[in-house]
Amino acid sequence: MIHVILITFLITLFYMAIANRMLTYIKILAFQGLLLFVIVFIQLNEINTINLILILLETIVFKSLAVPIFLNFILKRNKITREAEPFVPNFVSLIITTVIIVFTILLVNSINDPYLDKIFFIVALSTLFTGVYIIVSRRKILTHVMGYLVIENGVFILSLAVGSEMTMLVNIGIMLDIFVSVLVLGIFMNRIGNTFEEMSVDNLTNLKD
């Protein structure tokens, strides 16, 4: 069951590579949050109420509801065009995502560690690298933030794969930090939207020697 969901997660990455409209990206992010909740829920051996609330907050409330609504708000407010405008054609993106996944499969298979849950690691690392790829291959600032959120999802799966539990306080700190950084990024995105005609990284090339 859990492997099926993990593979569904991988498929969302392919979908993200070829998605054309900004709204599709937001929907995929919300869906990924939902998948993460299911993964954690199955993975949990014993259900502790505080832990459950924390996970609910982090996945459903934060990843599937708050962030997509916030991104949608920014999209509407700044009248961003609906197309994602990648630097490279979608077909090439699809191939590169495939190459990333094949590469991580080879990498993880080369590790000989009996305690390793391979599918978890493959999904986590390929999500991480696909996030980085989305950041470098897209022109819009909003897609950059989405790439960052994909990386965060990858890190989330990775910490599940390792399975060690950090102290509750640290967990809360990490969650708050990510939340605040998305908020701060959103505020600056609005500023960029107000200052420049178009929210594109082409406007951000004045600082150089």
Binding site: I111, Y148, V170, L185, L204
Partner: protein, 475 residues
Amino acid sequence: MFHYYLIITILLAAGTIINRNNTIRILLLGAFLVLQTTLAIYGYSNLHKEEFSFFAYDSLGVIFLGVLTILSYTTIIHSYIYLKSRNESSWRQSIYFTALILLIAAMTCAYLASYIGVLWVFIEITTLSVAVLIYHERTHLSLEATWKYVFICSIGITFAFVGIVFLSKALSETGSVNLSFADIPQHLKNANTLWLKLAFLFMLVGFSTKMGLFPMHTIAVDAHTVAPPPISAFISTTLMNVGFLAIFRTYSLMANTSIQPWMNQVLLWCGILSIFVSTVYILKVSHLKRMFAYSSLEHMGLTALGLASGGIGYFAAILHMVLHSFVKASVFYQIDQIHRTFHTYIIRKTGNYFSKNLVGALVMLFVFISITAMPPSGMFVSEFLIFRSLFESHQIFILIFVLLFLTLIFWALGKNIFKLLFTPPIDIEEHKITPINPWESLSQFLLLSIAIYLGLNPPTEFVALIKESIILLPH
């Protein structure tokens, strides 16, 4: 003590953001400085005491806490002068000082954190609070720099978190789940080396956003360009100390495992590439603050080399960080005065500073001597020790390259600083030049003389603290 510090800091920050009265603002800032000093003194007199179960006064943390406390005084004074000279509105001043208080508190917590997760959380908070300060001037350029800073720091810090996850993977296989700095090394002896290597690589890349070391140095340079000069002083000194502390702690966690030679190789390459990049850019730079930002990159590279070559290099690396903090802070305070004199940061449009502001020009001359590590400067001692450690670890070729690059940097810095000091400027509007109060330079003379004193005749307590922080490293 520590929980009082946290509570009072939050209260003072809240007071600063609500308050609009200038006198009350000065009183609040004064109270914060007293609090910060009390914590530093308390920390030094209660070494190794654990606080709040997540923090401890360990020796390296206390050294950097002391540096931060001294620089807080000067930065707050120079921030006050800076804001006054720009006639900022009361509301903008409140935001500025609140962010500054939170930044100082976040750095203090990062220095004293005794768990790697806690360190991570506070490093992220420093990013968020310094972003407000970088954006202070609210121009297009500062928007660009702040965006890049927050975005790349967030990604970097995420990578560092991946590194922590790998580290805990390595630990969980040995049966330990405790991620405190004191407990990790004992469990790492039999850990899987692949996980350790991955952990070190990810954490080095992640924390190098803060330290301004090679792979992620660009954002720190861009942030310097637009940040208010007193904040540049912080980014270049205490914030880089945070990054150094994180990398140093990571290094010393794994220093007694079999991957230590490999880690040294990685750090060596980071260091040499940092120095190389800074040489290339410093030769063609035209912006005064960017020039000193690249000089910071060079010094971080030297520190990484010291750490990588071991032996006396560990000692020299920490000493170099401390001395660099004092010298670089005084540079940026002085740059604020230069900017107020000429109304520009472009070196070409300045000149003959000696006739405009004699005391400030003297500071600049001393800065040149200090930053290029000429003998009376304290940094001569630390750089010399770093070179000695490189020599002793048989890295002769790297040493030759480093010396070659340093000569080029010396020439470039000399060319630009002497242009600023002596060459008469072309088409400058003399009536626009504003005179500067000579007393404003007092803090810079004090900081530069502290750097000379600590380098040439370090007090035994200071040496003992540094020696204690490197006691776990192999010799």
